[in-house]
Structure formats: structure tokens, C-alpha cells
Amino acid sequence: MSTRLATGGRLIDRNKPLGFSFNGKRMTGYAGDTLASALLANGQMLVGRSFKYHRPRGIVARGAEEPNALANFGESAAFEPNQRMTTTPLTEGAVIASQNHWPSLEFDIGAINARMARFLPAGFYYKTFNWPRGFWKHIYEPFIRRSAGLGKAPKERDEDRYEHLYAFCDVLVIGGGIAGLVAAKAAGDSGQRVILIEQTGSWGGRAAVDGGQIDGIEVMQWIKETLQELEKNKNITIRPNTMGAGIYDHGYTLAYEQTHDLNAPRHRLWRIRAAKIITATGAIERPLSFANNDLPGVMLASAVRDYLADCGVSAGDRTVIVTNNDDAYRTAVALKEGGLEVPAILDARPDPLGQLVEKARDLGIRVEAGRGVASVTGKGRVQGVDVCLHAGEGAVLETIPCEAVAMSGGWSPVVHLWSHCRGKLIWDEEQAHFRPDPSRPPINHDGQGFVITAGSASGALQTNDVLADAHRAASGAGTPPVSDAISEGPIMPVWVMPQGAGIEKRAKMFLDYQNDVKVSDVQLAAQEGYESVEHAKRYTTLGMATDQGKLSNINGLAVLSDALHQPIPDTGTTTFRPPYTPISMASIAGDARGELFQPLRRTPLHDWHEDNGAHWEPVGQWRRPYAFVRTGESVDQAVAREVTATRTSLGLLDASTLGKIIVKGPDAGKFLDMMYTNMMSNLAVGKCRYGLMCSENGFLIDDGVVARMSEDTWLCHTTTGGADHIHGHMEEWLQTEWWDWKVYTANVTEQWAQIGIVGPNARKVLEKIGGIDVSAETLPFMTWAEGKLGGIPVRAFRISFSGELSYEIAVAANQGRALWDMLHAAGDEHGATSYGTEALHIMRAEKGFIMIGDETDGTVIPQDLGLDWAISKKKDDYLGKRAQARSHMTDRNRWKLVGLETLDGSVLPDGAYAVADGENANGQRKTQGRVTSTYQSPTLGRGIAMGLVSNGPDRMGDVLNFPDTDGKPHEARIVSPVFYDPDGEKQNV
């Protein structure tokens, strides 16, 4: 079984032991271990169960490509499912639990599926469970859902910090192997701004393990020196533990940094905009497809070598090597030199030659040419391999006992990042892999390619080719570094081992370990007509696991192509999508959580509201008081109190959120005449006018009071939601349609706090504070004036949205709170009452004033609301005029605004529709109107409502039925929408 050797392990620190637990069992590892190497060191080869068949699985790989070794990691708020053990550094006290089994990893009921495997081929879901109807939802699906999924669902709220960072550079180099180092150095030397990122914590990639010399010095030394030179260059930023997650259009790259530092944000998402991106992302070794190639103890040859060199961990005392290329011989040599047994190298190639082969033979390792694995034997873990002729059907020649199998099917360049923005690939017959086609790179905003591959990511597998390719990629000056690497013999593609394997064997050859996709499944997909690579993938789930097919894709493609009797390039690949390996949701959210989730806009009076029982209502990003609730009072009671106090004495409203836009210039009047349905050019200086704005499509989008400030300046008030987009709307027309008109606008919404002083005592309280003259004579209804109030400069607008005597006082925001306090003090004797949005809505409804967003919903035109008086007949054009002439807009049966009065005084249900007789052609009940606003009126002591009713204004007195959702009828009579003070005696005093 796997174990830690007495010596070796370039990355671990044997002076820093770390305690951790796996499924409750105490274990120890060393600083520098990954969870995977630590488990192997403790003899833990079985680390999880597969997705579908719950087969026992062990660690296969060393890095991001690992399909099996996923863990429930950590506890409580720091718990994280599906943590990849091969890429997670071991930390003191780490709590690791294996996934997808019950009751235990060793004894898993779900493993029954493995026995049933023959009944559960690819696509079996689609072929069954469809009868009887209803069973899917209630019987089959719940069972399948329970058995699906991998890690446990987190329960608690994550407490860690996350953040984003924008970075810019000339050259971004992704990958810190020797190719990345060479490219970064070359780019840096040429004076460009460079960022170099590496997904692991160590530099040098494979070369650091495989050794040799570069430019005459030992590789490790060369890496160290190169890094030092890079660090010296101020234009180069170097980042370990940072993965290139995705490349997006126009050179935008996501880099995912895991700080492994408790004081720092846990993850940092870099958004790097690079003029040029060099992907030095290396290559990944392919498994071989032989029977039982998924038994714990069967690993990638390179991984076996890495664990030995990096962590001093051996996968087993006796390791059989299975390969179709020279590289795996390095593993054999490393094991042998590490004092471990290598009973045999099974090489599918008929006559392997080359220096590595010789080296192995010289070490006395038995090399069997033309041989393959008929089957791996063992229960729950490798106990031996049945050897056969690769060219045959799998007749067993001998059985070699062993504890581990190191396999190598050749190497595939990591082309994911190259492909995210549609860089194209070509099939390399000689090396049997897809590699980037430099002539068809991803296209940047300037039409040029912006991604270049370097090293084995380009398909350069020999060290010297890697160095040269990287040097070229960064257009380095001078000659590239040179290594002493020995040359390798050619690979022989092997997609199924042995060649002539029968169906029983093919049904035990795993392509996608995590999703349990076998050679036979892909062949079945082809047989059933799922010929497109995307069909085959979706039908079999090949490559859809959390490793995104890093090990399985190419092998699967080859099997599919073979089944379709077509060359691999004709089959093509599936689409590569970001991210390269999964990234945390929290890192994507960044710091935008809690208070920072979205901006919260506050008025100058916000804090006062907060301190005075405000029951908040979000209005856009603002938060406005819905009502001010006093102790022992319900929200509804508070609203009623606020309405009554305002109608009978004095109410105060924070109207600061209303939009305020200055429009100035010789053509301002002409411009406003286009913006509004009414005439604004003839508004007299000092006067106010209520205006309507429509979209070019005819629909009412905003309303508000416009005041003429001077000969060439108007002030336009908008709704709370309208401020920004109406200002944008104005600028859009000025900049893109009428750019020759002399008009300037300025959005001064936030310059002013605006306070409504409303009610019979409004004037009294203003006069008491003193300053500006607010008498009926000097400041009549719908006029405005400038002056001082209690020494504070203000603008007073004599306007009313409540039907009461009312002023809106605008004051510089920084003095808003001062004036507000002053008004409360002065109004105390009248029981000055602050009121919220709901009281505001009720009072406007009592007066029959429409509310944008209530009476309008984007489908309503002013004519529907009886606002024809606000549509100038004198103007030959305004935005929306043409649209309002279309047949449907002029239909006499359009739903129009009316008041609604229940026969029994009750409140009509909000949103209810008035039914008409019969059903339409689709069997839906016919309707003839709907409720747009409905309230209990504290003033009238009964329910009042406004609504849109087909041809309503001509049907006064008609009684309609507005059934509730449960069908309960509510009868209401059509009346005038003005329920309160129809003659406006109160507001005009």
C-alpha cells in the first residue's frame, strides 16, 4: 500500500508535522503536503465513491485534473464540499471527509449500483422511468436525486472575506513552468509590463520533477535564479496560487488567487486586461483504457513520479508501468532509483527504443514490448495485473502481483484557455493530441489574435522544444535557453487496451471516472445515433463532471471517432467553457455582500428617519419611509394617523428623492416642448406646471412639476425612480438627435433636500419660522419663489400632491437636516407629523391623482388616464405623439381611468380584474378592467380605488364584479376618481 518514504520530497518540510483527520481518523502529514499526498502517505488509497455506480475510487492524479479525490472539507462556516484533494494544501487540524457513500466509505449501500451496472448503461434514464405517469416526480426522481450529487450542502453563512482587483498589462503569462518563466523573462526584458501567474504554490512545473540541466545548470537552480531575475524587474508582477480561470473577449482574463492567509481575503478575483496573453499551461497525461483501470492504486505515471519527488510518497512497493510512450519510463526509473520495485513495464509499442527505454533496461527493469493490461485484479484496490498482447483480444499471458499501476496514454496540451474565446485546434497525428492552431487564434477588438501558447501547451513535449517555443511566444531577443534533455521515441496511440477487447472488457474500461462513463457507453451513444460529439457528451455525461473531462475528453473522442469510423478531427471537440477549474461563488460576489451588496442611497434626512421608527420601503436604490411607526401602533394604524394629522393640521414629508433637472439655453423651451406632452415654452417665469413625459412608443414614463426659473432656464421635477433615467433620456435626445439645439442640462437632484409642508397649518408654520413671504397673494398655487427661511436660503414651491395647502421647500442638502429640525420645532404646536410614502399614496388617491407605476405599467398612455388636458393640441410634435395615433391606441374600447367604489364600503382587492361575460377562444375568462390602486381611506372611512375600465368614463354608475383569486365576488360602482375636495378649495387657500 501507499506510504511515506524515509527520505525525499522536495516540497515537504519534515520538521513541520501537521495533524489532520480523515473520516474521523487522526493522521499526520507535513507542511507542503496536499490533502492527497498526506492521505497516500497514511496508506489511504480509497478516498471516495464514484457518482453513478459508487465504485471505490482512489487518487489518480497530482493536480487539477483529478477526477476522484473530492472531499467534504472543513467545518461549520468554513465547510466546503467537493474540495479537490490534489490541489488543496494540508493545514493543521484539517478535517477531511469522503463523499457520496452511505453508511460508510468502506461499506456503501449505493455500491449495489455497481452490481446493477449492466442495467444502467448510458441514457438508461431516458429509456425508462416514464411509466406510470407521476411516478417520475414522486418515486423515481426523489430516489435518483438522493443518490446523485457529491458533497454535502453547506449549511452556514460563509464568514470569510473576498475581493476583486483590476489589473492591466502588456503581457499576461499564465503558467509558472519553465515555459512560463522563459516567456515572462523574455517579455520583461523587452520592457513590457508583465504579470506572471501560477496555479500552484511552486514554480518550474514538470521540469522541477524531471530534473536535468538548462543552460548548463541544474534545473532547480535555474528556476530559482530565473525567479530572482523576474522579481528584480519592477515591471513584472509574479503571483503564485493564482489560476488563470477564464479568458474573455478583448483580452479580459479572470485570475483566481487563493491566498492561504487567514488575515487576507480568502480568495481574490483578478480581472486582468492584457494586450497579449501567453498561455503556458502545460499538458495533462492521459489514462489508458483497460479493464478495471479505475481500481484504487491505478494512477497516472506522472502522478506516481510527482508524489515520490515532491512529497516522498510512494503509491506502493511494487508498481507496474503501462504505457504507449517514453515518458512513463521516467517514472519507472524514478521508482527504481527510489529503491522501489518495478516488476515490469508493459509497453504497447512493438519495439520501444530510445534513451529512456535503454536507461530502464540498464537499471534491470523488465520491459515487455507489445504488451498491455488485460485487466487489473484486486478487490477494492490493485493486487495485480493480467498481462496480455496489446494486439490481441486479451488472452492472459501471466498475472503480475503489484500494489500500484502507473499508466500513461500520452500527453494532451491544456488548450482550455486558448479555446475560451474560440481559438481553434488541430489534430497532431504524430503526438496523438489536439493542439492550438496558431493560425486561428482568438480575435481581439483590433481583429488581431491576442492569445499565444507557449511550451507543452503548444504541443511541444520535449524540453528543448518547450524552451524554444516559449522564447518565440514572447518574441524574446537572442537565443532560447537550452537543456540537456535526452530525446524520446515516438508515441503509439492507444485508445482501447487490448486492441481487440470484447464487450465485457470494454464495459469495465473507464473514460470518465467521476461520472462512470465507460468505453462501452460512448460506443452505445454512437450506435444509437448520438453522433455529434455534443450529443455523445450529453447522452453519456462524458466530461461533464467537476474535472470537466480533463482526463477523459480525448480518450472519449477517440473511442467515438472509432465507433463512427471517422478520423478524430472530423469528430471535433466539445466547447471549452470557463472556468478552467471551479472557482468559489463567494469570490465572484467579492466584497458585494451585506451592506456592500448594492449601494443604498440615503437622503440628508435618512438618519432622522432611522431614529424615528421609519418602516422602510426600497424605492430603486433609495430607501424611503413607508410610515413612521410609534410604539404600540401597527403599520396600518401609523399610516392612518399620518393621513389624518396631515389633512387636519400639519404633515411633513421628505421629498428629497424627487428628481430635479435644470434645463437651460436658447432652445430649452423648444426642447421641453418635445420632451413633455404639454407646452412648457410658454410657462411664465415664477410659475409651475404639471407635465407628462412619454416614450417615443407613446407610453407614459414619468410626470412631475416643471418650474420656470428664468428666461432661458427651467427646473424639471421627476419621480423618484425617474431622476437618473429621465436626465439620461434628455441627454440622449440632445446628443443623438437634436445636437444642434442650444440646450444644457444638469441633474441637481442631490444638491437639494426637498421637504413637503402639508396641511391647513402649513402656512402658519412657515410664517412662524419667518423669512420668505408665503402668503396666498405673493405665492399663489402653482408658483415658486426664492428666499430665506430661518436664515437658510431656500426655494419654495407652492404645489400639492395631497390636495391640501402645501409647500415644497428645497434647501441645500447639507442644511436639509437643520431645516427639517426647525420645521418640527416650529410645527410642534400643530402636532407636526412626518409621513411616509403610503400616506402620500393614499392622499393622492383620495384626490384622484395618478401615480407612475400604479396607474401606469408601461402599457398606459396619457389618454387612458383622462389626462388629455395635459396634452397640448397646439404642438405639431412631441415624443410619443405619432405612436399614440396607432390604431390600438385610439381604440374607443381602451381601458380608461375611473374611480371605483365598493357597494359595501369594503376595500377592493389589489390587482383584481373586472370580469366580463364568457370566455375567449383560449378558454380564458373575459375581462373588462382592473384595479390599479386601492386603499382604505382614513379621511372618508371607506374603501376607495382607482382602476382602468374598458370605455370606463362613459359608464359612470355601472357596477362591475372584481372577483378575488378564490372567486369571491367584489362589486364596485364606477365613479369619478376624485373622492376628496373635487373643487380644490383646500389646496387653493
Binding site: 519592477k234 444638469a746 437643520a818
Partner: protein
């Protein structure tokens, strides 16, 4: 007569950089034809500064003048003088098509100080803040996380940030979170 109070009343935060609300500050938005001699003449007479070029900000002893768009400038003066300055400018621009508006109360502004101040902003704004790309004398209107804002460097080791008053708290919290101890990145280079 009561004293005006800025959005956060001078709040401050200490991290690996310091974040401070600057408090009351006069600002006048000027719109007009920046290339027109008549317009320039008025502005330069009032401020004693030459109208800055594209994305530039110029500083005098008490006032600063920033380029906001091809037809807009922002004049920074003391809060006390803002209203008068705006009125005076409006008056002297009276005979041309132009606009001068006091927007002092519509804004909040912050100072970020510390050798790593560039990276605090780099966490919030999609702007190249490498010294070669942005430095003293430059101004950039951009996005700070989810709101609009403007940034410039009054000197080589600090930033000033202007945003709308209603989101002052949001921007202050953003900057503080970005400047929190432990979060220092080392990119872009320290100044």
C-alpha cells in the same frame, strides 16, 4: 442660521491606507464650449487657471479645475465661496450659451492616503492605475464598484474621490473594506 454638515461629517478609517471624508467642499459644474475663446476667457479670469485638456485637472492655490467631458468642467472651490462663485460665473457667462451650477451639496469627497493607495482604487475601478498610465494631473471619471465616481491624485501618494452624496456611505465603506489590513496586494506598484 445653522452650520452645513457634509454627508459623513468627516468620517475616517485606518487600514493599510487611510480613508477620510474630506467634508464640505465647493463644487461648480460648468458647461459650455471648452474650445471657445470667450468661454475660456471667463473661466480663466475667474479661476486664474488655464482650462485643462482632456482628462486633466489643474490646481491653483485655493481652486482646482477639472476636465469632465468635452463640454463640461468641474470647478473646486471652498464651500463658503461656491454659491457666490457660481452666481458670478453665471453672470459673466450670461452672453454666451453656457451654464454654471453650484453642486457642492450634491457630492461627497474622500481622500485615500498611503503608499499603496493605487491598489485601493484598483480594487474598485476598471482603470489602469499604473504610474505610467495615471498620475498627478490626471482625472478619471469611472465606476467605483456599483456607482459612478471621479478620481485624481493631488500628489503622488494620495487619491481624491468624488461621488454623489446619497452614496457617500457606500463609497466610504467600499474604500475602507478595500484598505483593510491584511488585504494589501502589491499591485500596482507602491508610490
Amino acid at each position: 442660521m445653522s452650520e452645513p454638515v457634509s454627508a459623513l461629517n468627516g468620517a475616517s478609517f485606518g487600514g493599510y491606507c487611510d480613508v477620510t471624508e474630506i467634508g464640505l467642499r465647493g463644487m461648480v459644474t460648468l458647461r459650455g464650449d471648452l474650445s471657445a475663446a470667450a468661454f475660456k476667457k471667463v473661466i480663466e479670469a475667474e479661476t486664474g487657471l488655464t482650462v485643462p485638456g482632456q482628462r486633466k485637472i489643474v490646481h491653483g492655490k485655493v481652486v482646482s479645475l477639472a476636465w469632465m467631458s468635452p463640454d463640461e468642467l468641474l470647478l473646486l472651490v471652498s464651500y463658503r465661496d461656491a454659491a457666490a462663485t457660481a452666481a458670478r460665473l453665471a453672470d459673466s457667462l450670461n452672453h454666451q450659451h453656457a451654464m454654471a451650477v453650484d453642486v457642492s451639496d450634491a457630492r461627497a469627497s474622500f481622500r485615500i492616503e498611503g503608499s499603496a493607495c493605487r491598489e485601493v482604487l484598483a480594487k474598485l475601478a476598471p482603470v489602469d492605475l499604473y504610474p505610467e498610465a495615471f498620475g498627478h494631473g490626471d482625472i478619471r471619471r469611472t465606476r467605483l464598484a456599483q456607482v459612478a465616481g471621479a478620481i485624481w491624485m493631488p500628489d503622488e501618494a494620495s487619491f481624491e474621490v468624488v461621488c454623489f452624496r446619497s452614496v457617500a456611505r457606500y463609497v466610504f465603506d467600499l474604500l475602507s473594506e478595500a484598505a483593510r489590513h491584511g488585504g494589501q496586494v502589491g499591485y500596482p506598484v507602491e508610490t
